[in-house]
Amino acid sequence: MPEGKYCNKKPIETPEEVNFLLSDTSGNTYYEEMKSLDVDSDLMWATIQKTMKSRLKTWLEICAHCGMCADSCFIYLVNKKDPKQVPAYKIQSTLGEIIKKKGKVDNAFMRHAMEVAWSQCTCCNRCGTYCPHGIDTGIMFGYLRGLLYQQGFVPWEMKIGAGMHRAFRAQMDVTNEDFIETFEWMVEEYEDEYPGLTVPVDVENADILYTVNAREVKHYPEDLAEAAILFHVAGENWTVPTEGWEQTSLAMFAGDWAACKMQVESVYDAMERLKPKRMIGTECGHAHRATVIEGPYWAGREDGLPPVESIHYVEWLAEALREGKLKIDPSKRIKEPVTIQDSCNYIRNQGLKNATREIVSHIVEPGYFIEMSPNKEHNYCCGGGGGFNGIGFFRKQRNQALITKRDQILKTGAKLVLAPCHNCWDAIRDLEEEFEIGIRWSFLKPLVIKMLDLPDHMKPEE
């Protein structure tokens, strides 16, 4: 059977198709069908010739097999240094083989490649910083995922996630109406405490255009209120768009390049429509990577930049604290051992390590902050990046991968972990559920709100 009912090469385009695939509980039939899915070798080879540029070709060619990347990979370390987990081996035995065989690989090979691409690499890019040649296996795996997606060899949740972006322009079934309605609802809930709190919708020429992660709308709408409160207290002129508010991209994790482009263009359209001075996204790592770092290339923007200056939430927060727009009551700072999780996507990949540490200097009583080891651009992935968190099929492997972060946190002795990234936050939540090491974890927004020194005119009456 070439194309399955659930598992096939056709992307998901509509809410009905999303629901249809979701109805296959756990993707059981989906993975069963995958076993007989045909590989379209001609299509794959044609795609490779069109899309594989000199950088990747060179990387595959010049790898000296020196093994320097081995110890840089937390998945290798946490799997008893299995040689099959060495990054160079992982990519050479998958993408390398496909190239060597000019795309003429079989179904079993493709399913194996899927397992390697989604359960043995989180695209954290740490190996790239240790390779003497600068070869970044994470980037190559991102590319391989694209080839696998095109052929239908993609984990069930990833296919759904990418489909959500196509059908809703959001990673979950959240419509534009849901987004605005939920935001307004949350603001209403908090307006007694913060008189004058509003959510400005579709305001042109605002200083800040704020974009979010659809999960906030769906499950943690307090996060929206918290963002509104902090912008309000800081006196910012901000707005949210009725369309193009979703910053994340499960399509990027899935390797659905076309959906990546659709998603990021919806955000860029909002920027062009509303002409804000800057765009700020929520506390999410991959969303920043997708919209700010990689997105411009997906959208074919010549300058490699989004239409307006786009910064991460931690950059804005650091700035607001530095400039005194937000004032912290020193007596309310964190006074317990606390550590921070450096998100690969904006710390290692964009160098924002100083922004988060500047925030820490404002909100943590001196002497209580403990760095993980290693940290900053050398930090390990949370264990659930690159889509790993969401994939039921590879749950066992993901739980194994959490051990690195668990031990790093345990070593610090901290009971509170700052996790300004949705993916990291989830992975740390899951590792606590899995191993029960007695920690708490938090985004920055709720912590900062508790510590604010509010100007008198912003306090509620009474």
Binding site: E193, K332, G390, D426, E433, K450
Partner: protein, 299 residues
């Protein structure tokens, strides 16, 4: 009085005493009952996995599972659902407090009814995933009064004849008072307005002399008269009292002495720090201890 009631339940024995009250009120006032069950909390990022509240197992939620849970809830309450009770059963996935509030926003009930804390809180699936308790969050943000039945002793609902209204003279206490008067008029019951003077050294910072205490009691009495007596005069029976002590204990004692069927108090939407203190030490403590249902009013 109550036309639409949202009854949020775990559909386990922990909610049994609340269920008794919910079904009694619904019957007594011919109200529509929305039996609402949050079956599990999302887990694993954007995966489809949730941890089921009742079985504590990780499950993949799909339509089939949802309707199965709905059927379970129906079976659990089957003996109450006979004889033309107007109800529907809704189940969903999410963080309980948020989903209860979302349901309230969509359906606009006159009253939200919650069961109390369960004995094995640490084991509870809900507890693990929420920062503060469901009860705290719902009481804080709900737009309608929230009735909480915590102890089995509080689950008797034989109609209302006597309400204790506990006040701290705040703005939200005014709202709670308005609600109290409305209920009292509709159901023709007695209202006891009560203020507890907090003499614990934690809050006063010192040990008060008896003269100070008596002075403060007189002041509180004057406040009660000025603030509430005009409206109280429209009722057949009312009383006013000020006692000193630990506020939540005094309220519980007072309600017991007066054979109150219901305690009404304000929930406060003050800043986080005070909120923990006030809610934690007063409304929530009253809820935990009272021998009758407690209604928290915020807006």
């Amino acid at each position: 009085m109550f036309k639409k009631i949202l009854f949020a339940t775990s559909a386990t024995p922990a909610s049994d005493h609340a269920a008794r009250v919910a079904f009694n009120i619904a019957r007594g006032y011919d109200a529509h009952l929305d039996i609402f069950h949050v079956l599990g909390v999302p887990s694993r990022g954007y995966s489809q996995v949730v941890v089921d509240v009742k079985t504590k197992e990780r499950v993949d939620v799909d339509d089939e599972y949802m309707s199965w849970v709905k059927e379970e809830v129906n079976t659990y309450y089957s003996k109450y659902l006979e004889n033309g009770l107007k109800f529907d059963i809704n189940v969903t996935v999410g963080f309980p407090a948020r989903e209860i509030l979302r349901q309230a926003k969509d359906t606009n009930p006159d009253l939200i009814l919650l069961g109390g804390t369960t004995g094995d809180e640490d084991e509870s699936v809900y507890k693990k995933s929420v920062a503060s308790t469901t009860l705290q969050k719902v009481a804080k943000s709900a737009k309608c009064p929230v009735l909480i039945v915590n102890r089995p002793a509080a689950s008797f609902w034989g109609g209302l004849s006597n309400i204790t209204f506990g006040t701290d003279f705040s703005k939200s206490s005014d709202k709670a008072f308005d609600f109290t008067i409305k209920v009292a008029k509709a159901l023709d019951c007695e209202v006891n307005v009560f203020h507890a003077l907090d003499i614990t050294s934690v809050s006063t910072g010192k040990i008060l002399s008896q003269d100070d205490i008596e002075q403060k009691i007189r002041e509180a009495f004057r406040m009660i008269r000025a603030k509430y007596e005009p409206a109280l005069k429209e009722l057949k029976n009312y009383s006013m009292d000020v006692w000193e002590g630990i506020p939540y204990i005094e309220i519980v004692k007072y309600a017991r002495d007066n054979h109150s069927d219901l305690i009404v108090m304000a929930h406060h939407s003050k800043k986080a720090k005070q909120e923990d203190a006030i809610l934690g030490s007063n409304v929530e403590q009253v809820i935990v201890r009272a021998g009758c249902p407690v209604i928290s009013v915020n807006r």
